[in-house]
Amino acid sequence: MNYVVLTIFFLLSALTLGSGIMVVTVKNIIHAALWLISTFVGVAALYMLMEAEFLAIVQVLVYAGAVSILVLFAIMLTRQITGTGTRQLHSRWWVAMLTAAALFGGVIVPTVWQQGSSWDKTASDAQAILVQQATEANGGTRPEIIPVAGTEELGAALMGEYLLPFEVVSLLLTAALIGAILIAFEERTRRRRVLTLAEELALRKRGIVEPHDEEGAVVPVDAEQAV
């Protein structure tokens, strides 16, 4: 195996893992979010190393560019950003650690068990393995579409084999979107509205001197100013 690639791989892995550790250890949550972005970018670089270009770019576009920004946005609107004085360790931290370790083991052990023999393969070898696996799965004949992370294959898969899950997920997302809008709308109507001068005047003309908002608070209108 190529040492350069290996070196790059280890560097990227170190970046990803190190950033991941930083995410959970730093006290300042903004810094944590920034480390999270670093993790995402590291993962994307790993994808790129595996020649999964599309996946890498989507990782950057969606996770580093959008999801983490939303996280950051949400964090910035809260208090206690610096996290000074907050404790990071729970008294039963070891339970959490054991759970995490178990879950990680549950993923990594079977993977190593199954794929351990193909560790010294290059990308083209991996391609060959994929072809071989697909052929086996297809009952001995080589299928037309080899499942790799190319854009065309992805597109074909989403529009063919996985159409139903795709549509379901789309519906779910749309529902979530509508829900978010609804919540925001309700919030907006409940918020105390600041009346402009002209609106105040218009209300007063209609005889409403002290308009109440929905929470019952009085929106102040200076009665003296009525002309």
Binding site: V4, L34, I37, E53, F54, L61, A64, G65, L72, T196
Partner: protein, 407 residues
């Protein structure tokens, strides 16, 4: 002479060397290009305002950006006392990094095509990282104006990325590829004039993309994150000297990249009359010239807009993205599908073949029908969107008319 082959032993060393050279070229070229652009913009806008612009340093003031670069570099580097020092420092780095990455996939004429298969997506993925830098700058400065600017900037970027990418979809549909090189080569028909902008869908895509690109590059009328008359300089408020220069550099490089991308996607990149006829080297050089002329013309359009229009307000900016651009762009995707169907579908839709003949590049009937149909669809869409968004005076209450909301 004996050690030369030693280096060439391993191919990857050569690859790394070439990559380093390329990266250096992009960085240096990008910086020089940015310097040229600042001069270009200032001179052009000066002429629009009946002035002369910088004309003292060097011939026609061409060295003015150099003197300014020296000035900014020699300025004191100030970090506000209560700022988050690391974040404050890293923000311009992230910003510039994201910009420079975008240059990796730009095809420079026909001379240096880029190879990434998903180049178009790549550009927008990495420019999307701008938001991170912006947010870091806004938050790290510990300044209300900076925070407001950062927030505005991020909201704007996130909103406009959607119409930006959606406006791109028609081009991807037309070319069937995500690679910029492919997209450019497929516009080489019609004696070098097979640009996508000449079709109704391409034109709509171009206009919407251009508007969204103005927002993405923080140009007037969408320069809200750094709206100097409202929030001083937005997220740049607490930056000075070299850090500010890096922001500035990244901003102009982004704009340059956007111009290059628009030139490649819609205006045929390096394609033009005579490029194919002149052969690889000469034609390639000519294509480079075409490419730069197109990009600079697009930048001039940006400057012209900057010299003319005021700035939108934040809520209007968001409204414009979601209420105007997005519907139009979505309809445009649909009409692109129709265009593709009419011009290309042979066996899939026998009825088209019956009516208009076999699909071919010289079947003008098919193209004519496609143009008419898509044009009608797009115009209807624009009209409908404007109609929906424009409230009729009859819909308004008396007070609202009094408030002047009728327009």
């Amino acid at each position: 002479m004996t050690y030369w082959p030693v280096i060439a032993v391993d191919a990857w060393i050569g690859l790394v060397l070439v990559s380093i050279i390329k990266v250096t070229l992009i960085l240096v070229g990008g910086s020089l290009g940015m310097m040229f652009l600042t001069w270009y913009e200032r001179r052009a806008i000066a002429y629009m305002q009946d002035r002369r612009g910088p004309n003292r340093v060097g011939p026609q003031g061409l060295l003015q950006p150099v003197s300014e670069a020296i000035k900014t570099m020699t300025k004191e580097d100030i970090t506000p006392l209560d700022a988050d020092r690391v974040v404050h420092f890293l923000a311009p780095v992230v910003m510039l990094g994201a910009t420079v990455l975008a240059f990796a996939v730009i095809p420079w004429g026909n001379l240096f095509p880029s190879s990434l298969r998903v180049g178009v997506l790549f550009i927008f993925a990495v420019t999307g990282l701008h938001t991170v830098g912006m947010l870091m700058a806004g938050w790290g400065s510990n300044n209300k104006f900076a925070l407001l600017g950062g927030m505005r900037g991020v909201a704007q970027m996130v909103s406009y990325e959607i119409p930006l990418l959606m406006a791109l979809l028609p081009i991807i549909l037309l070319s069937g590829s995500l690679s910029l090189t492919d997209i450019v080569t497929r516009q080489g028909d019609w004696y070098g004039f097979g640009w996508y902008v000449f079709s109704p869908v391409g034109l709509t895509a171009f206009i919407t993309f251009f508007i969204a690109a103005l927002a993405e590059g923080e140009r007037t009328p969408f320069d809200i994150p750094e709206a100097d008359s409202e929030i001083v300089a937005g997220y740049l408020t607490e930056y000075g000297g070299m850090k500010f220069a890096v922001f500035y550099l990244s901003n102009y490089m982004t704009n340059l990249a956007l111009c290059f991308i628009m030139a490649s996607l819609f205006l045929g990149g390096g394609n033009g009359p005579g490029v194919t006829a002149l052969g690889t080297v000469l034609g390639g050089l000519l294509s480079l010239v075409y490419f730069f002329i197109k990009a600079l013309a697009l930048f001039f359009l940006m400057v012209l807009i900057r010299g003319t229009v005021p700035r939108l307000r934040v809520d209007q900016l968001m409204g414009f993205a979601w209420k105007f651009l997005l519907p139009i762009v979505l309809v445009n995707v649909f009409s692109t599908a129709i265009w593709v169907a009419i011009t290309r579908w042979g066996p899939q839709a026998q009825i088209f073949t019956d009516w208009f003949g076999e699909p071919a590049s010289d079947n003008y009937l098919r193209y004519g029908v496609a143009i008419v149909v898509t044009l009608i669809i797009n115009l209807l869409a624009v009209y409908a969107v404007m109609r929906i968004n424009r409230r009729q005076p009859s819909d308004l209450t008396e007070e609202e008319i009094a408030l002047g909301l009728a327009g």
